[in-house]
């Protein structure tokens, strides 16, 4: 596995324009497959319009201690994009007034932002109903300075959502890097010890599953049952829910699909699995994604493709919920990733 981001390697796919070109040409241009717009129009659901804002997702930076093969952020230790305290303050002003009930912090590894803990402390005072931190787990055990994070999360009643691609070491390490599985298990044990993920515990611990290759996730409930059984039996680890998330064909996963000659088959599978019912619940309609430098996007994927919201309110400094709730969602062929089968979102299946 490459240990550097596409950006550091000066790979052409680090350029979002190049990614969008690939997604619009080839099998979509030739008419072999319907474009996303054409598929959605078949059931008169195009253009997709935003609804009431429910989730504010803030990306605190692209720096990460891992370099996962499928990462749509192209995150890694070599990424320098980090949200400043000033932008965080602008976010806090929005959190105080927004009607969103969920605050969702992501990255990179959001914990690597030097102002992460200050931001969590300030944001938790506002009284958001569901305060999520997306943790890659290994960050907790990577350095002494992060060992207290389970206690810190508990103190601020943070809902921890963690990545875990498989219940076995082999498949986990192949996707996320050598040693990731054992470090993740150690971090899950630390979270369980303080009460996270235990039956009836209010300290929510959910896991995110991404397929470790060019295939779609299977039935979410079936996978959750298998994860629960294996992690309990093998490591005495417990968690609440599993979110099965489809890998979207952008950034490093797009690079992998092309290099492994799986791109056309994968896109065909996504298009074949297109489910108009999933369009009704796609997360972009109730989410705003904020980038490290304060720009606003329909979702984290559009953020990585540099597709800013189609609204006069484009930046956290000029955040206007009324305007944003009337916007049209920007789409391209990557959106098939969220509408395949039972659908996919940062909260897993949507149908």
């Amino acid at each position: 596995m490459a240990l550097k981001s596409l950006k550091k390697r000066a790979n052409s796919l680090a350029d979002s324009k190049r990614q969008l070109e690939i997604l619009s040409n080839g099998i979509f241009k030739s008419g072999e497959l319907l474009t996303f717009k054409e598929s959605v129009a078949l059931t008169n659901q195009f253009p997709i319009k935003s609804k009431q804002l429910e989730i504010l997702q803030i990306n605190l930076g692209y720096m990460c201690n891992q370099v996962c093969a499928h990462c749509h952020v192209d995150a890694g230790p070599d990424r320098q994009e980090i949200m400043t305290k000033e932008t965080m303050q602008q976010c806090l002003e929005v959190i105080k007034t927004t009607s969103a009930h969920t605050l969702d912090l992501t990255g990179g590894a959001p914990e690597m932002n030097p102002n992460f803990e200050w931001f969590v402390e300030e944001a938790s005072k506002v009284g958001i109903k569901d305060f999520i931190v997306r943790s890659n787990l290994t960050i907790i055990t990577s350095n002494k300075k992060y060992h207290h994070l389970p206690e810190f999360f508990k103190k601020h009643n943070v809902h921890v959502v963690s990545s875990m691609p498989h219940w076995t070491q082999g498949k986990t390490d192949k996707q996320r890097g050598n040693g990731v599985f054992s470090k993740s298990i150690e971090a899950l044990e630390m979270l369980n010890v303080v009460g996270y993920g235990m039956p009836n515990s209010k300290l929510k611990l959910d896991l995110v599953y991404n397929p470790s290759g060019a295939f779609l996730p299977g039935d979410q409930m079936g996978l959750e049952n298998k994860f629960k059984k294996a992690l309990k039996e093998d490591f005495n680890i417990q968690f609440h829910s599993l979110f099965a998330i489809t890998n979207l064909p952008i950034s490093r996963f797009l690079d992998y699909l092309i290099a492994s000659e799986n791109y056309e088959d994968y896109m065909t599978e996504l298009v074949d699995a297109y489910n108009p019912e999933a369009v009704k619940n796609v997360m972009c309609t109730n989410t705003i994604s904020v980038s490290w430098d304060g720009w606003l996007y329909d979702c984290d994927f559009n953020q990585m493709l540099n597709l800013k919201v189609a609204s006069e309110s484009k930046h956290i400094s000029t955040f206007n919920e009324d305007l944003l709730s009337k916007r049209t969602i920007i789409t391209s062929q990557h959106c098939y990733g969220c509408t395949a089968g039972t659908g996919s979102s940062c909260q897993g299946a949507v149908v």
């Binding site: 219940w167 076995t168 498949k171 290759g213 779609l216 299977g218 039935d219 996978l223 298998k226 994860f227």
Partner: protein, 111 residues
Amino acid sequence: MSKTYYDPADLRKFGKITDWSKDLGEKFFEYYGKVFEEGALTAREKSLIALAVAHTEQCPYCIDAYTKDGLQRGVTKEEMMEAIHVGAAIKSGATLVHGVQMMNKVNKLDM
């Protein structure tokens, strides 16, 4: 262009068999779908059985389909290979158990 009897793209067209025999085709797919639902066996167990049978039947479409199905269900490569060995063992066992018939015949005919 080289031509072969099997084209991976044909798997996507499987549903088209209904075009020329609607009633029977639809009944087959309804039955097929029902068979693979969760039941006394889990859908995961059924997927592994299908993978083993796909190999004993030597059906390339089925091998592609149930390898991917297994990956989607989180089935590991070790589990897949063991399932295939079950199929192989039954195949070779079925050959060898006929050896008893051969032995019976020899014992009857041979002085």
